[in-house]
């Protein structure tokens, strides 16, 4: 749903501390561009959809939003905390909908080693968003 993705991007982009930590609006949908400079944030649709339990076209979805750092797990977690500060219990502005809730539910972290031996640290969370018309 484009409206919801746009709302997430807008909410994250409005965080001056987050943008400062990223060194710019390094926030991407699904996947960062090739050779994107670390650190950056990626958000993607994890699941969910229409609840169909009342006539309001309610939608309840979960989104995976994570920070990537080539420096340290600490940096990834710091950026993740800034993401959480922008989204957890936020009054997300979704075009055409009223936001019922936008809450962080689960935490996630991992590290991967690239073919060139660089460790990429990831820290993020799962956010549950419920919107209604």
């Amino acid at each position: 749903m484009n409206e919801l993705n746009a709302a997430i991007l807008s909410q994250l982009s409005g965080g001056t501390a987050l943008i400062s930590a990223l060194g710019g609006t390094a926030i991407y949908h699904l996947q960062a561009p090739d050779k994107a400079v670390y650190p950056y944030v990626v958000y993607s649709w994890q699941g969910g959809g229409m609840t169909n339990d009342n006539p309001h076209d309610d939608s309840e979805t979960v989104h995976f939003i994570r920070a990537y750092s080539a420096t340290s797990a600490k940096e990834a977690n710091t950026i993740d905390a800034l993401v959480s500060a922008r989204l957890h219990k936020a009054a997300l502005s979704v075009t055409g909908y009223t936001t019922v809730m936008c809450w962080r539910e689960d935490d996630y972290e991992t590290v991967e080693t690239t073919s060139s031996g660089v460790k990429i640290y990831t820290a993020g969370g799962i956010y549950r968003i419920r919107i209604t018309k």
Binding site: N54, P55, H56, D58
Partner: protein, 133 residues
């Protein structure tokens, strides 16, 4: 006839202050008819003998709370009126039921991380009318 789901259901409450249409907010409806049963067992009866007596019933409807006060007067405890329920919708020949009723007020049980619902309860106060659209 054919199977159907409840989404087309229409539920209205006609009281002295007007008509409340729950169709846009309702989630579930329950009508439970009852009948008083008199014990007529006597004499040499070897098994109980029963006589059907007065018909009665209760109704309840849950809806997604919209946060306003519109229902406070219409569905206050003690308010009388007529409840109409059409579980299959309003297409021609769809069943349409109604009954005079006394409202028992609303129960509300907000939960920290759930959409808030209200439940309105009625007690039948006269004969149910079975008709159709």
């Amino acid at each position: 006839m054919a199977e159907y789901v409840g989404k087309e259901g229409k539920y209205t409450w006609v009281w002295s202050g007007g008509t409340v249409d729950f169709s846009g907010d309702w989630r579930s409806f329950n009508y439970a008819p009852t009948i008083d049963v008199l014990d007529a067992t006597a004499g040499s009866d070897a098994a109980k003998v029963k006589i059907a007596s007065f018909k009665d019933g209760t109704m309840s409807l849950t809806l997604v709370d919209q946060g306003g006060t519109a229902l406070d007067a219409a569905c206050a405890e003690g308010v009388g009126g007529t409840l109409f329920w059409s579980p299959a919708g309003t297409a021609t020949n769809s069943p349409k039921y109604s009954a005079p009723a006394l409202c028992h007020g609303q129960t509300i049980n907000p939960q920290y991380n759930q959409v808030v619902e209200r439940q309105i309860n009625w007690e039948q106060n006269g004969a149910r009318v079975d008709s159709k659209w």
